[in-house]
Symmetry: C2
Subunit: 206 residues, 2 copies
DNA sequence: GTCTATAACGGGATAGAC
DNA sequence: GTCTATCCCGTTATAGAC
């Protein structure tokens, strides 16, 4: 039986994922979630003790799903240029499948939600990318790139890859794009973003 | 009387601005807002007919406050390099004073909220920056920069400037920054971001 | 484990006195 | 314009039968 029918608990979590990510904690109701999972509110509270609890579970998974790959690739043992292309390509593909994850995570982290902080630290994605920083220092020492602040470069990479998804609705309206046009738009960025990052790193080098 | 005491209506709007921006529509209550404005719920509904209505007013102002300057500067009549530096500097300073505006706007635009769309179009900030596009085409024709898609360049500029504010809480945690350190971090970007954009535009030019 | 029914509460909105 | 009191609904959560 490779394709088990999902358990009730899993159906609830699945529905919660969908609705929390789509509408946020405050705008999604347990009734919505129960209905979407084709059960009732009582079962939601049977499996997860409260709405808050269910939300934590969903948020933590979403956070890990998004930020572990980011930290992972940055600390990979790959040549700088290869790594940057791989980063942009992989994260873009990940987000094409789950385009609302970034806005979900960032919007739920407004105001210092203490519970969120715990979720993040345990995910281990909160350390600055030490491997990436070392790599940038070594390349600068070899004269291959200019000396840079790794935090800023990391921020630039994340910004260029995540922002189109964060602002997806505005982008679609502004440029009259549908889903397909939007996907093409971010696919083009698989070339543009690495070129941008690398052009900066290599600029002003004799 | 240069410094009038704010009217009740203005105090309510002010409180709504603070709480909606901080917590979002679904997590802010009319009672919160009334208390924060030092009045009562009845007056909130007296001046604005409903919570939804009050929210629209706040959102529309916030949207204009953020996106009109962006469109404005991009279509300014300035040399390309000067314009880019001005853009980054001005938007950064604007956001240092209201750092949560971007995440507020983008998070409230998840799911195609019809009312939001109207708010945006009337703000006139939804046209692609035609002046900027023409300028990039002219510069490319002159051989000063490579030929580019203006939408992509505009996206890159916005991404690099807005993203640090969108991810402010994560950045602060990840790099142990307080308010002052964060401000220094974004100030450094006033140099880094234009250099990044310009390095890309000028790369691969014989 | 699953359901129906209901308790307990909070939120948006209004009536009506001042 | 401002306030108190209240209505009414939606929401979370639980009790209890099956």
């Amino acid at each position: 039986m490779l394709k088990n029918a999902p358990s009730t608990e899993e159906k609830i979590k699945e529905a919660a994922r969908k609705l929390f990510v789509e509408k946020g904690f405050g705008n999604a109701t347990t009734r919505d979630i129960a209905e979407c999972a084709e059960t009732n509110v009582a079962l939601v509270n049977y499996y997860f003790r409260s709405k808050e609890n269910l939300f934590q579970a969903v948020f933590q998974e979403s956070f890990a799903q998004t930020f572990l790959p980011i930290a992972g690739i940055l600390n990979d043992d790959l040549p700088l240029e290869v790594k940057i292309y791989k980063f942009v390509d992989h994260i873009t593909e990940l987000l094409k499948r789950a385009p609302m994850l970034p806005i979900f995570i960032l919007s739920e982290m407004r105001g210092e939600h203490a519970p969120m902080c715990r979720a993040m630290q345990q995910a281990g994605a909160m350390e600055p990318a030490a491997g990436f920083q070392r790599q940038l220092e070594e390349e600068a020492a070899k004269g291959n790139i200019r000396p840079v602040d790794a935090r800023q470069v990391e921020t630039n990479l994340m910004a260029l890859v995540l922002f189109p998804f964060l602002s997806m609705n505005i982008l679609k309206m502004k440029h009259q794009m549908g889903d397909e046009a939007f996907n093409n738009f971010v696919d083009e960025r698989k070339k543009i973003v690495p070129e941008t990052i690398l052009a900066y790193l290599r600029s002003g080098l004799g």
